[in-house]
C-alpha cells in the first residue's frame, strides 16, 4: 500500500523533474520564448490576436509530459483538424475577403502593379535560402514570409515544410507587426526629397456597384485559370468579398469576418504554438529563417519603392514613389506608413487612398505570387 502511494506521489512531480533536468533545457528556453511572445502580444500589442494563442500554445507544448501534441492531445487534434489539411488559413481568408474594400483599387486598376512589385523580395529570398543550404521546398516556404501574409505563409509551409511551420508563422506575423519600424528607413534611403513630396490628387468615386460585384468573380476566374494551384487561396478571399459586395448575405459576411475568423484564429494560433516544441524549434535553422524573413520584407519594400520611382519617371512625376512601399500584403499598416511618411515631408500631402489601393493590390499580389509558385512547382513536377 505504502509502495503504491509513493509510486503515485512520484508521478506528481515528474513534469518538474524532467523540466529541470538537462533533457528539459530546450523546453525551459521555449517557456521563456513563450513568455516573450505573450509579453509582446499583451503589453506591446504586437499582433495580439495571433501572438497570444501562439505564445500560450508554445507554453502548453513545452510543459514536459503534458503530451498535448501527441496523438489524441488537444494541440495535435487542432493541428490535424485545420493546419495539416490547410483548412484554417483558408477560413481566415474568407474573413479577410469580407473585410477588404477593393473599391480604391478599382478606382485606379493600374496601381495593382505595385502589388506585383511588392512580391519581388519573395523570389530573391528564395535564392538566398537555397544558397544557405535549405532544400528547394524549404526555401519556398521560407521565402513566402516575404508575402507578408500570415495565412498564405501557413498554407504554403504546411504543405511543403511542416517542420518549419512554427518559425515561419511566428516570423511572418512578427514582421508584419514591425512594418511601421522596418519600412520607413528603406523608403527614405531610396527616395529624394523631391520625390517624397509629389502629390497625387484625389481619387474620384467612379466604380459602379455592378463592377464591385463582378470583381471577385472575374478575379477568381482569371487567376484560377492562370495558376490553378492557387485557387483555394484566391477563391476564398474572393468568396468573402463577393458576400460583402452582394449585400444579401449580411449574416454570413458578419460571421465570416467576426465569429468564424475569431474562432479559427484561436485554433490556428494554438496549433502553431504546438509546433514550437523545444527540441524541434531551437535549431540554427530557426535563426536563419528569422534572418531571411527580415531580408524578404526589406527586399519587398525596396523593390516596391524602386518600382514606384520607375512609375514616377514614366508618368512625368505624377506618382509618389513612396506609394510603392504599400504594395505588400500587410493591410492596412503599410498604407498608413506611406501616409505618415508622405505627411512628414509635406503636411498637406494625402497619399492614403492611393496607398490603400496599392496595399489591397499587395493582398492580391501576395496570394498571386504564392499561386504562381505552387503552379510552377507543379509544372516542374516537384509537388
Amino acid at each position: 500500500m505504502l509502495e503504491s502511494v509513493l509510486g503515485g506521489l512520484s508521478g506528481l512531480g515528474s513534469g518538474a523533474a524532467q523540466l529541470f533536468s538537462l533533457q528539459g533545457l530546450p523546453n525551459l528556453v521555449m517557456l521563456a520564448i513563450a513568455a516573450a511572445l505573450l509579453y509582446l502580444g499583451v503589453r506591446k500589442q504586437v499582433e495580439p490576436l495571433l501572438l497570444v494563442p501562439i505564445g500560450f500554445g508554445c507554453l502548453l507544448v513545452n510543459v514536459p509530459l503534458g503530451d498535448l501534441m501527441e496523438a489524441g492531445g488537444l494541440l495535435r487534434i487542432l493541428y490535424d483538424m485545420g493546419i495539416a489539411n490547410e483548412l484554417f488559413p483558408l477560413l481566415i481568408f474568407i474573413g479577410i475577403g469580407a473585410m477588404i474594400d477593393f473599391g480604391v483599387l478599382l478606382e485606379n486598376p493600374k496601381i495593382l502593379l505595385f502589388g506585383a512589385a511588392g512580391q519581388i523580395g519573395i523570389f530573391l529570398t528564395l535564392l538566398l535560402a537555397l544558397a544557405l543550404g535549405f532544400t528547394q521546398l524549404e526555401a519556398v516556404s521560407i521565402a513566402i514570409i516575404g508575402a507578408m501574409d500570415g495565412p498564405t505563409a501557413i498554407y504554403v509551409t504546411s504543405q511543403f515544410a511542416p517542420h518549419l511551420l512554427g518559425p515561419v508563422s511566428v516570423a511572418a506575423y512578427s514582421y508584419m507587426a514591425l512594418v511601421p519600424i522596418i519600412q520607413p528607413p528603406i523608403m527614405r534611403a531610396l527616395t529624394t526629397q523631391k520625390e517624397r513630396v509629389v502629390r497625387m490628387g484625389t481619387l474620384k468615386k467612379s466604380v459602379s456597384p455592378t463592377t464591385r460585384l463582378l470583381f471577385p468573380i472575374v478575379v477568381t476566374l482569371v487567376t484560377g485559370l492562370i495558376a490553378p494551384k492557387g485557387l483555394p487561396l484566391m477563391g476564398t478571399i474572393m468568396l468573402g468579398n463577393f458576400m460583402r459586395e452582394c449585400g444579401v448575405v449580411a449574416r454570413l459576411t458578419k460571421a465570416s469576418e467576426n465569429e468564424i475568423a475569431n474562432v479559427v484564429t484561436l485554433f490556428l494560433g494554438l496549433a502553431i504554438g504546438g509546433t514550437m516544441e523545444g527540441k524541434a524549434f531551437l535549431t540554427p535553422q530557426t535563426l536563419l529563417i528569422f534572418g531571411l524573413g527580415f531580408i524578404a520584407i526589406c527586399l519587398d519594400t525596396a523593390a516596391g519603392v524602386l518600382f514606384g520611382k520607375l512609375v514616377c519617371w514614366a508618368s512625368g512625376g505624377k506618382v509618389n514613389p513612396l506609394v510603392g512601399a504599400a504594395g505588400i500584403s500587410a493591410y492596412p499598416m503599410a498604407a498608413r506608413v506611406v501616409q505618415a511618411q508622405g505627411q512628414r515631408y509635406d503636411k498637406r500631402n494625402y497619399l492614403l487612398m492611393h496607398a490603400a489601393g496599392a496595399n489591397t493590390g499587395g493582398q492580391i499580389g501576395s496570394v498571386m505570387a504564392a499561386a504562381v509558385m505552387l503552379s510552377v512547382l507543379t509544372g516542374m513536377g516537384l509537388i
Partner: protein, 46 residues
Amino acid sequence: MDNWAFGITMTVVGVGGTFLTLWILSLVMSLLKKAFPLSDEESKAK
C-alpha cells in the same frame, strides 16, 4: 534539377508570372469599369 536552375526558374517565372497576371487583372478591371459605368442615380446616391 539543381538548386540554382530551380532558383533562377522560380524567380524568373515567379516574378514574370505575378506581374503578367496582375497586369491582365488590371486590364480586366478597367474593362469592367467601362462596361458597367457608374450611372447618374448611383453617382448621386454616393
